[in-house]
Structures are given as C-alpha cells and as structure tokens.
C-alpha cells in the first residue's frame, strides 16, 4: 500500500416510494456519516408532498379534486389551493411554449398531469433541502430535481436514456437543478398535438434542463410535440436548455447545455 493512500467515507441515503403510478427514488449525499434517522423527518415531509399531490391530482382516482373538477362537479373557486397554483403555472408554461404545452386541449377536460409530477418532485426536493445534506436528488420516473453536489469536488451527473435502447445511455450531462425527459418509448404513444388534437411526435426523446422541474417537464412535453419551433423557444429562455434525440439517434442541443465528455 502506498503511503499517499488516504480513505474517506461517503454515505448515500436512498429511499424508494411507489406513488403517482410510478416509483420515485430519493437520494441524499453526505460527506460524513450522519445517522440516517436524522433525515427521517425531512424524508417524511418530502413523501407527504408526493402522496398529497397524488391524492389531489390523480386523474384515475375518481374522488380526487382534479377528477371532480374535470367532471364539472366542483368549480375552480372550490378546488384546493394547490390545484389553482398548478393550473396557473400550467398557464405560464403554455404561454412560454406558445401553446405547444396545453393541458386544456387534452381529451376529457383539463389535465395538468404533464406538469404535476415534476412540480411535486421539485416540492419534495424543497422539503429535503431544509436538512443540511451535501446534495439531494429526487427522480420521479425519469424526471429529476436536484440541489447541491454528490461530493465536494463533483456536480451531479445524469445520463440521458437512449430512446432506441432505454437501458443504455445516449449521453451524460452535468446537472444544475432539474432535468425532465419526454418521449413515447416507455409507455407508447400518449402525446397530443394541442393544435390538431391528434397524437404526434417530432423527436424520439426530448430533455429540458433548468431550475424548476415542473417547467422542465412541461417544456419537454412541448418539445416532443412541437419539435424545432419549441427548440428555438427554449434557446431564448434564460437558464433552460434542451436536448433532442431523433429516430436515428441524431442529437441536437441548445448552446449552453453542459455535456460530460467521456
């Protein structure tokens, strides 16, 4: 053994929660070994954010406030404050995407599902940020919110799944904040062109990075549907970057996306 050899301990705390019809993974990174129990209250808060969002916004649970709103049983004036907040944020995303993200154009009434998962994961991350960890990451079905670092000398790195073979990576990016990826390769065709109201995809996979996962989620959906037009819009939004992968694996990214060269 070399005399220069030193040893330090990194601890990663990991939790999985089955919620919102998927699995959300939560990772906390620490330089020192702090007893995991110290983070339990923060985890508990993060999980209640996710489970509350599920109860409030589920479109398949008939009793959820959103389902009631969609059936016209309650009015916008009667919905919980979070529903109002999310719909207002959706309206902003609709405007930013020039209508390519439009929860009001979907069949069956307003459906903010394309915003909610990212919004909820971002809020769960906010709950974890109240603890004094080095870094935290919430991955909600491939949409990731993060803060801090996994270790003192490294930023978070995230692999973007290859749409042609999703268990391999198309590329790796350095993450400051959030990244959402949209595509039809996991669950089949489910994206609607809000202008024609017909199923459509322009690219196999679209990823958007930025400070807020809710907006990333909405813009990624808009990007799959709207293609080049939305790509140009995102290039103009400060702190948000985009990456698209086409059917033949061709990649296109906005000018400031931080790739990790391997």
């Amino acid at each position: 053994m070399s005399s220069q050899l030193g040893e330090s301990r990194l601890t990663r705390l990991h939790h999985r929660e089955e919620v919102m019809g998927t699995v959300v993974t939560i990772d906390l990174y620490n330089e020192l070994s702090v007893p995991p129990a110290e983070f339990s209250p923060f985890l508990k808060n993060a999980l209640s954010v996710l489970n509350h969002a599920d109860k409030t916004f589920s479109t398949w649970k008939v009793t959820s406030p959103l389902s009631q709103l969609r059936r016209g049983e309650i009015t916008l004036g009667e919905v919980p404050i979070e529903v109002k907040e999310v719909l207002e944020l959706c309206a902003v995303a609709k405007e930013l995407s020039k209508g390519w993200f439009d929860p009001w154009s979907l069949p069956g009434g307003v459906d903010p599902t394309g915003y909610v998962k990212g919004w909820a994961a971002q809020r769960a991350l906010d709950a974890l940020a109240l603890s004094d960890v080095t870094g935290a990451m919430v991955n909600a079905a491939g949409d990731i919110a993060s803060f801090g670092r996994p270790s003192p000398d490294q930023l978070f790195r995230v692999g973007i799944a290859d749409p042609a073979q999703p268990t391999t990576l198309a590329c790796v990016i350095e993450l400051r904040g959030a990244v959402a990826t949209s595509g039809t390769y996991e669950r089949g065709q489910h994206l609607i062109n809000p202008f024609t109201r017909r199923p459509v995809t322009n690219v196999a996979s679209a990823s958007v990075t930025g400070p807020d996962l809710g907006l990333c989620d909405a813009l990624a959906t808009a990007l799959v549907v709207g293609g080049a037009e939305v790509f140009d819009l995102i290039e103009q939004i400060p702190h948000y970057e985009a990456l698209t992968i086409g059917d033949r694996g061709e990649q296109r990214s906005t000018s400031r996306l931080a790739f990790v060269n391997s």
Partner: protein, 85 residues
C-alpha cells in the same frame, strides 16, 4: 408507511489525490419490502447496463416516464440498487 432510508455506505480510496477505488461497505434497505422485491428481480438483468452507468460516474438517469412495472427494468433502478462500484 415506511419512512426509513435504506443506507449505502461507500468507501472511497484516494491515491495521490485521485479516486482509485470505490466499494460498497454496507447495504441495508431500511426494511422496505418494495425495494427488496424489485432488487431480487432486476439486479441480475441490469447488472451489465448499470456497469456502464457506473463507469460514467452518474447519480441518476433521465428518460421517458416509466410506470411502477417499468421501473423494475429501468437503468435508474439498477444504478440505485447497485450504488457505486
């Protein structure tokens, strides 16, 4: 509901200022039955892909939304199950 964290303790060996070896020191999953069943099913299948991810030194995988069933076959699952190499 289970509010416990699983814990992955990782040892990092540093030689001349560079990380030369990372190993799992202990793995407890906090008694989470969901993660146990997921791990038992999918770790062998995804080991190879996870190695690629580990070599890329990443902490997460972003991709199109998967369902709970899809998660078992995801690279994110393999990555967080195996942790660091």
């Amino acid at each position: 509901m289970n509010y416990n964290f699983g814990i992955l303790s990782v040892t990092v060996t540093i030689t001349s200022g560079k990380i030369t070896k990372v190993g799992i020191a202990s793995l407890q999953d906090g008694g989470n039955s969901l993660s146990q069943s997921i791990d038992a099913q999918s770790i062998p299948m995804l080991e190879q892909q996870a190695m690629q991810a580990q070599n890329a030194n990443i902490q997460g995988v972003s991709g199109a939304s998967y369902t709970s069933a899809g998660f078992k076959l995801s690279l994110q699952n393999a990555l967080t199950s195996l942790g660091f190499k």
